[in-house]
């Protein structure tokens, strides 16, 4: 679309975010590298958080074969970790990206990350919607195990055999 300008500034205008560029400005040299970093960060957020959420939701709704209580608790704990990781990543990744993009003077990527921060609550809405359909809490759920219920310690009136 702009062959003449691309010829004079080969590092600029690769993503379509056109902004005023100054060829004498030496800080613009590292743009391709910086842009790649910001792109990786953005798409890690875009696909990574839904990925974690889907994996966690599948684990949460599944009926796993966990014969011992320890296995069931480990399964539940791993699922909780995935949920928490998704929620933290949903907010932290765009926040980091927005700060980097702002300091690197990348208005296009800054808009992307600010948009990501605005979209992050969607994840929490989905989690809350999932929570209303479940009878037990979404986070902190432990699947069933095959161990007999633990014996009650302490006797009601008096213990047999003294």
């Amino acid at each position: 679309m702009n062959d003449t300008t691309r010829h004079s500034h080969p590092t600029n205008d690769t993503t379509g975010h056109s902004h005023a560029t100054n060829p004498e400005d030496t800080t613009r040299r590292s743009h391709p590298m910086r842009r790649t970093t910001l792109g990786v960060l953005f798409y890690t957020w875009l696909y990574g958080t839904p990925f974690l959420l889907v994996v966690a939701l599948i684990r949460r709704t599944a009926k796993p074969f966990t014969p011992t209580r320890a296995e069931a608790e480990a399964f539940g704990a791993a699922t909780d970790t995935l949920f928490l990781l998704a929620m933290v990543a949903a907010v932290v990744l765009p926040a980091i990206g927005a700060v980097i993009a702002k300091s690197a003077d990348e208005p296009g990527w800054t808009r992307h990350f600010v948009g990501a921060l605005i979209a992050a609550p969607l994840l929490f809405v989905i989690l809350c919607a999932a929570g209303t359909t479940a009878s037990t809490p979404v986070i902190g759920h432990v699947p069933a195990d095959l161990e007999p219920p633990s014996p009650v310690h302490g006797c009601a009136h008096e213990c047999p055999g003294g």
């Binding site: 696909y47 990925f51 684990r59 992307h112």
Partner: protein, 107 residues
């Protein structure tokens, strides 16, 4: 424009790829009972087993609807690729989901 279109389509396809991989990883990470009665037809089929069939059957209609949605999002709304692709994927999932629901209701 063409560049934005290709990138938007890629973002939209990326959503479905992410969903399929996440479903596969999620199912794979759930331990199954080792000694199940699998004598009945399809008694022991998990999502992991039928996922290739789902992808094969749903792939072409999903891509077609996605193509239309991306075209609309890019040419009409002039959105950035990430947003256009994401909205297109959401719209495609909604349209195909509604289609499946309609098909289920009529038969």
């Amino acid at each position: 424009m063409a560049k934005t279109f290709g990138a938007s389509l890629l973002v939209g396809v990326g959503w479905f790829v992410t969903a399929v991989i996440a479903a596969a990883v999620g199912e794979w990470s759930v331990p199954e009972q080792p000694d199940r009665d699998c004598s009945g037809f399809g008694a022991c089929l998990s999502l992991l087993d039928i996922l290739p069939v789902i992808v094969f059957v749903a792939g072409v209609p999903l891509l077609l609807v996605l193509l239309l949605a991306v075209t609309a999002a890019v040419t009409r709304l002039k959105l950035p690729a990430a947003l256009a692709g994401t909205l297109s994927a959401a719209l495609t999932a909604a349209v195909v989901g509604a289609g499946v629901a309609l098909y289920g209701a009529t038969r």
